[in-house]
């Protein structure tokens, strides 16, 4: 792919990095929620689970906002953005 404009290349890589970060954070938070299931019970457990859910929501909000900021940035070649590369490679 050709990226002639330095600014749009910058936007593209910033967007890719932010998307990748969001993907990784979402996966990590998924793991937290999965690990929390059945680990403990009681009032304290419910409170803790509530806090974790709130934190997860906030983290993803921040990253979603950041992605939007990148997408609105000047020099963003709408519709021709490269996808973020996969974060890890499955290999035997």
């Amino acid at each position: 792919m050709m990226i002639s404009d330095g600014a749009s290349a910058g936007v593209a890589s910033a967007l890719a990095a932010t998307r990748r970060a969001r993907h990784e954070v979402a996966a990590a938070l998924e793991r937290v929620l999965a690990a929390g299931a059945g680990a403990w019970e009681g009032t304290a457990a419910e409170l803790s689970a509530g806090r974790l859910r709130r934190l997860a929501a906030e983290a993803l909000d921040v990253l979603d906002d950041a992605i939007q900021v990148c997408e609105r940035a000047p020099g963003h070649p709408l519709g021709t953005l490269p996808q973020a590369p996969p974060t890890s490679r499955a290999i035997g």
Binding site: A21, V25, A35, W40, A59, L63
Partner: protein
């Protein structure tokens, strides 16, 4: 909350509702301990002492949650860095990154909070099996319902003022509960045949043709109620040590054997099926209760061979009907000494490794030789006896129980390694008769071997773990290229991973052999004494399983990367030495890093050869298996950049699990050509061969320099040490502090280093340190040539990385 003083200390004061109740038969027997017994709230049910509300905790999962929250915090921090970079690139304010950072900090705080919970639960949980939460949960809830939690907890941990009184009462209550059971058996016998009185056992009538349980049916309700009450009391007592001691002391080994026979039942009689007699026992509820209590008892009393000899329903004193223990094995953590004894009974004495560390590890006592040699024997299978299937199930349960006993697993594994590999390879030959290990047994052994080699066992039992991995390498070397089941091969991977640093440190050393005082002698030092060929054989066998092959490759690469980083840090600024030196101080570590990868690549080649050989003359099914394994090994090979460990580490994934490998082999519906994989592996082998065996040349060159020192003196090197001091190295081992006395003097009377193989470990250690010292590295003028050859100007003949997933 119950005030301990308000509870009458007599076992027969009725306090209806004090025990967890269930809606079946009425309780019988005045001796039933009806008061709120000081049973235990399983401590993992940590009512945060004095805190609000009870908390049910599954320790294993909670630890997992802590780890997950910590990991999420890390990921968030890395996301913060990405965000800062991205926003700065766009010239935007970095406020969102700061917000994200705060979320990360909150996650860390939460992790700390949760870790505190884990610690508190662990402190409270001295006795409970952490891996069977569903089993204690019911009892815990029952004891909470009965409102005795507080008293229970205080008595159990000896914190309450009434601890001594409680102890006597609880022991008496335990005995009373056990007497209930024997009385039930007596009633049973009384209504049954008169001759059966001598053997309080439901089976005793069978020999006379009297239907089993006939007497029991007549005595039904009374017996059921008694059994019910006894087990109820045991359940409510939870893990109270005194109650349990009283209960099992009174019951005795024969009584326990009878109880287990009634609880689990035996295979149907030759006379055919009969309706099950009414009983107060419910295996689903009572087996976990009994198992947990028995596990606690095994740690309270030493259940020696005398005890085991009476553990049968035949009234014998020399037969252990160990198979009866099977349902109890998974319910709690048994005493390592008892498990060791059971292991010897089930699998024989095995072979102690040379220089083993018996006795060094905690709580594994050797049985007296007399008992080990004769006397005590397990009951063999036979009519009315457990069948072969039951025996295998018992062995699997026993192996699993040993697997979760950190102080025993490594010792046990190393003792049986030789036999295991022998038997397993016979089984894997696929002979028409059934030989070797059953599939379940192989899997259980694999779990055990994998656990013995794991990091957690290394932490829990360092000496045992080192002995195990040493024995494993030697056993794999001795076994040669025998055909082991793939699962067992995969079980070698954890050991290879855990000891990767030691293995590669050994195989890349300038001179091989045991050294001192680096790890001194003992099991850890014995690791160094394992020849490189044995490590190579173990690595080959581990790779032949195909699973996690990438992980092993990453270990080699990671060793090289870490070594180079450490050397770079240590030698920072050394290049500024005036009048430049012929060799960089970092060359030696570079050569060692390359050698580590070459060693791995050689083992990979060995594994591929073995796979090809193994399947050369086999049918289509084997060819599919071969193609899958070669694909997996080829995938690892493509990712190896022999001259660049860091690059390898980045390119290589950890690999697939053994279950995935098996699925791949199943799903292959046609013979896939494996020519491409073979070519890649051959290329890697050629590339490896091009890398010189530099260690001999290096050592030889260093000796030459030393021999010529009179005519051509070594150039002294002055370097800045890590502590900031400047230090001069002259190359003279005495002056530079490598030879400190006769023990470390590796020079012979003429001043020439002795052959490395003839040195003592202490001398070899000093010799190695001298060879690697700055003066010798700097003056070794053959080093640049060797490094040039290893670096090679020509591109590595390995094709660029590609993903070779089977079918992909």
């Amino acid at each position: 909350m119950v005030d301990p003083g308000a509870v009458a200390p007599l076992p027969d004061v009725p306090r209806p509702g004090a025990l967890p109740t269930r809606p079946s038969p009425p309780r019988a027997g005045a001796a039933a301990p009806r008061r709120a017994l000081p049973g235990v709230t399983p401590a993992a049910v940590a009512s945060a002492w004095g805190g609000a509300g009870r908390v049910m905790v599954d320790l294993g999962r909670l630890r997992g949650l802590v780890a997950a929250v910590r990991a999420a915090g890390e990921v968030l921090r890395s996301a913060v860095r990405s965000l800062v970079w991205a926003l700065s690139l766009l010239g935007m304010p970095v406020v969102p990154a700061a917000r994200l950072d705060r979320v990360g900090a909150a996650l860390d705080a939460e992790a700390t909070l949760l870790a505190g919970r884990v610690t508190r639960a662990e402190e409270a949980d001295g006795l409970l099996p952490a891996r069977t939460p569903h089993r204690w949960r019911a009892a815990a809830e029952a004891s909470v319902r009965s409102g005795i939690g507080d008293l229970t907890a205080r008595a159990a941990f000896g914190r309450g003022p009434t601890a001594t009184a409680d102890s006597t009462v609880a022991q008496a209550a335990g005995r009373a509960a056990a007497r209930l059971l024997s009385r039930a058996a007596d009633q049973d016998a009384a209504t049954g045949a008169a001759r059966a009185r001598a053997h309080p056992d439901a089976r005793s009538g069978r020999r006379l043709g009297i239907p089993a349980g006939a007497g029991r049916a007549a005595a039904g309700p009374a017996r059921a109620a008694a059994e019910h009450s006894a087990l109820d009391a045991l359940s409510a007592a939870g893990d109270h040590a005194d109650f349990i001691a009283g209960f099992f002391d009174e019951l005795g080994p024969a009584g326990l054997a009878s109880l287990l026979t009634a609880l689990v039942g035996r295979p149907p009689l030759p006379l055919g099926h009969r309706p099950t007699p009414p009983t107060g026992l419910d295996p689903r509820r009572d087996v976990p209760v009994l198992g947990r209590a028995f596990a606690a008892y095994s740690r309270l009393r030493s259940l020696d061979d005398v005890w085991l000899g009476q553990f049968n329903t035949l009234g014998r004193t020399d037969r252990a009907d160990v198979v009866l223990l099977r349902p109890l094995l998974g319910a709690g953590r048994l005493d390592p000494g008892l498990l060791d004894r059971l292991g010897r009974l089930a699998f024989g004495a095995g072979r102690e490794p040379p220089g083993g560390t018996r006795g060094r590890s905690a709580r594994v006592d050797t049985p007296p030789p007399a008992a080990a040699s004769g006397g005590l024997r397990p009951l063999p299978p036979g009519p009315g006896r457990p069948g072969a299937t039951e025996l295998v199930a018992y062995q699997v349960a026993l192996l699993d129980a040993i697997t979760v006993t950190p102080s025993l697993v490594a010792h046990f594994a190393v003792r049986h390694l030789g036999e295991l590999l022998g038997v397993a390879s016979v089984g894997a030959l696929g002979l028409p008769v059934r030989t070797g290990l059953s599939e379940q047994a192989t899997t259980a052994w694999s779990r055990l071997i994998a656990t013995a080699g794991s990091q957690s066992i290394r932490r829990a039992d360092p000496a045992g773990s080192a002995t195990f991995v040493t024995g494993l390498a030697r056993a794999a070397d001795t076994a040669g290229g025998s055909s082991l089941p793939p699962r067992l091969r995969t079980a070698f991977v954890p050991a290879l991973h855990t000891y990767a640093d030691e293995i590669y440190d050994t195989v890349t050393a300038v001179v091989p052999g045991q050294i001192a005082p680096a790890e001194s002698v003992g099991p850890a030092g014995a690791l160094r004494a394992v020849p490189a060929t044995a490590w190579r054989a173990l690595l080959r066998e581990g790779l032949r399983g195909g699973a996690m092959a990438g992980l092993l490759g990453r270990d080699a690469a990671a060793f090289g990367t870490r070594l180079e980083e450490a050397t770079a840090e240590r030698t920072q600024g050394w290049n500024r030495t005036p009048a430049g030196l012929p060799a960089s101080p970092r060359t030696l570590s570079y050569l060692r890093a390359v050698r580590a990868q070459a060693f791995f690549a050689e083992a990979l080649g060995d594994a591929a050869d073995a796979v090809v050989r193994e399947h050369a003359e086999a049918g289509a099914e084997h060819r599919r298996q071969q193609a899958v394994l070669l694909d997996l090994l080829g995938t690892v090979a493509t990712s190896i950049d022999l001259r660049n460990p860091a690059g390898t580490f980045e390119q290589l994934g950890v690999g697939v699990t053994v279950v995935e490998v098996e699925a791949m082999i199943r799903e292959r519906y046609r013979d896939a050509p494996s020519a491409e994989s073979r070519r890649i592996l051959a290329d890697l082998r050629a590339a490896t061969a091009a890398i010189p065996r530099w260690s001999g040349a290096y050592e030889e060159s260093a000796r030459l320099l030393w021999r010529r020192r009179a005519g051509d003196p070594l150039r002294p090197v002055t370097v800045t040490e890590a502590d900031g001091r400047r230090r001069a190295y002259t190359g003279d081992p005495r002056q530079d502090g490598y030879i400190t006395g006769p023990a470390t003097d590796f020079l012979d009377p003429t001043g020439v280093p002795r052959p490395a193989a003839a040195m003592t470990p202490a001398q070899r250690g000093a010799y190695l340190a001298w060879l690697e010292s700055p003066a010798m590295v700097a003056n070794n003028d053959r080093l640049p040539v060797l490094a040039g050859m290893a670096g090679g100007a020509e591109p590595a003949p390995v094709p660029p990385d590609r993903v070779l997933r089977p079918g992909g």
